[in-house]
Assembly symmetry: C2
Homo-oligomer: 333 residues x 2
DNA sequence: GTGAAAGCGCTAACAC
DNA sequence: GTGTTAGCGCTTTCAC
């Protein structure tokens, strides 16, 4: 690999001069600059990031922690974040982590070894000490799309509970009284969405019944299918179902299809997240849209400001959500 | 950040000794080792990767180049590769690139700046000089799931043409004679799958008709929907359609649904890739399964061997595919 | 067994 | 304007 020294030797100048040219500093005679630039081009010189970040004590890299089983919503989110970060001059390094203590600790070590300028968490950690360890190192952290109790980190998300409430109220408005739910177990949004569902029910004078709520282990279509199947075997059969994510909803629709039930004629199905394909399914999914682009952009923006130490905002950035009514829900009748 | 020097000072030994302990080298008295290990634990010391890779002239990092619009198939693939690479002791760094010349060149610069130990391409580049530049630097490259004409790089993929031929023959076997195709424009697999479709048709004595082939700009569900809609407006209407990816198939099913046509009763739809959700759709998708796990594992394995300079194989690793018959296709009748 | 010293590629003070 | 020098954190000879 050509280094700054090689260029310097050939050009008959010192390494510092080459450095100045490469980093577009002033104080270099135009003709020398020209000569060096030509050499850089010719030899295909590219500065070594490791060496640079060592002396600068900055890596221009932000780490993004994400579940190894990331779903389509998270996938869209991190693409947006990556793009915004890049246009702010940062590199992005991904850290996939499993929902288990050991994997989280390994992730922490790797995070620390990289000397990151900042860390964005798209994955909620099971261990609370993860966040503590991080804050001790005084490295900027932004959480998206969730927050963490008692943590000073900035976060970006919607009001999950209100959104789940709106989703459930949509079903109630359509005349449904028996409303089931396919609910996740992990991550705080599961509890928040469950709370919203419950609040909507109770707000309408309906009682919350555990018999209509089926817990599933992951947010995959496969588990949505299993969950819906379980729900259908319960004594009390709902006329509408709220799935806590679109992928769960896709699986739920599948289970209904297998049972010979039509969506939405025989059962309304409501999703959450509005992932890309939801609009292209048959039937298309009624769901809650998170303003994912805006959220990703804001996450990247906060991180950039935090790194530049010019962030004047604080706390959580709460975004609005939107009820997107499509074909998978209809009035009871 | 605690460095090796800090530890050394406190422990009253030299930095070299600490290095030996951290890197599990021998020649350190057990008691000193103990003392240092305790300190490492206590101070939360984590070696600085940049400094390490600088002296070692190795980064233990492999770059994975992937389209910024990566689909679910690619998403599964890169997760597998990341996991396998990690268990081989390598870090993974992702490089998202757009299908445009400028983005590719920027990607190349970034790739070079990282001093990667190897590069895995999950994205076919438009510019041929991309590969040339790379091979000049003598850095190991593995292509998956495609190969590149006249390039010595190792590659891992299926026989795309044979697979597309099998897909089309499945439809022919079901009695279909009017078989449409929703075809992509980018990447070599598009041409290969088109060739397979054509070969199957001609092998059955059917003629290839451009009027039954609709080209689309991306492999998204949105474009599949558009493509199918276009196909339905053509004078010659097929009874079955081969979509070049599952996501295209999802969109195609949607367009049929909107047109009031049932799948598979009124039109059979065939996908390709067998992404996760294909089995959970309603109807579930008949498709071609690429042995994605095995392919990802092999890609990582080849890369590891290449880096260790102990690769004894060469050329392309061709994997078998599998026709997965589900609900979206049925006999013409 | 352990330490001293050199050096990886780069940047930033400081001289000149 | 440009060169010299020191040093970022680490590993690795080479002495001892």
């Amino acid at each position: 690999m050509t280094s700054i020294k090689d260029i310097a030797k050939i050009a008959g100048v010192s390494p510092s001069t080459v450095s100045r040219v490469v980093n577009e500093k002033k104080y270099v005679k135009p003709e020398i600059r020209e000569r060096i630039m030509a050499l850089v081009e010719e030899l295909g010189y590219v500065p070594n990031n490791a060496a640079r970040s060592m002396v600068l004590k900055r890596t221009f890299t932000v780490g993004v922690v994400i579940p190894d089983t990331f779903n389509m919503f998270q996938r869209q989110l991190f693409s947006i974040i990556e793009r915004c970060l890049e246009s702010n001059g940062f590199r992005t390094m991904f850290f996939f982590v499993k929902w288990e203590s050991e994997s989280e600790m390994k992730c922490l070590r790797r995070l620390l070894a990289e000397n990151l300028d900042g860390i964005i968490m798209i994955h909620e950690m099971a261990r609370p000490d993860f966040y503590e360890e991080l804050s001790q190192r005084s490295i900027p952290v932004v959480l998206c799309p969730f927050s963490h109790e008692g943590l000073s980190s900035r976060s970006v998300h919607i009001d999950e509970e209100a959104a789940a409430r709106a989703a459930t109220e949509h079903l109630i408005t359509l005349g449904h009284r028996e409303i089931g739910m396919v609910a996740g177990l992990h991550f705080s949004f599961a509890a928040q969405r469950t709370a919203g569902y419950r609040a909507a029910l109770e707000g309408a004078g309906l009682s919350y019944d555990e018999g209509l709520v089926v817990p599933v282990g992951s947010y995959s279509a496969a588990d949505g299918r299993l969950g819906m199947r379980a729900l259908l075997s319960r004594p009390r059969r709902p006329t509408a179902v709220f799935a806590q994510t679109d992928e769960l909803a896709i699986g739920a629709v599948r289970a209904l299809y297998e049972a010979g039930l039509r969506v939405p004629q025989d059962m309304s199905v409501m999703g959450f997240d509005d992932i890309d394909i939801s609009a292209h399914l048959s039937p298309s999914l009624t769901t809650i849209r998170q303003p994912i682009f805006e959220m990703g952009r804001e996450t990247a923006a906060i991180m950039s400001r935090l790194i530049a130490e010019e962030d004047e905002t604080e706390g959580a950035a709460i975004f609005g959500f939107e009820l997107v009514v499509r074909e998978s829900t209809q009035a009871l009748g």
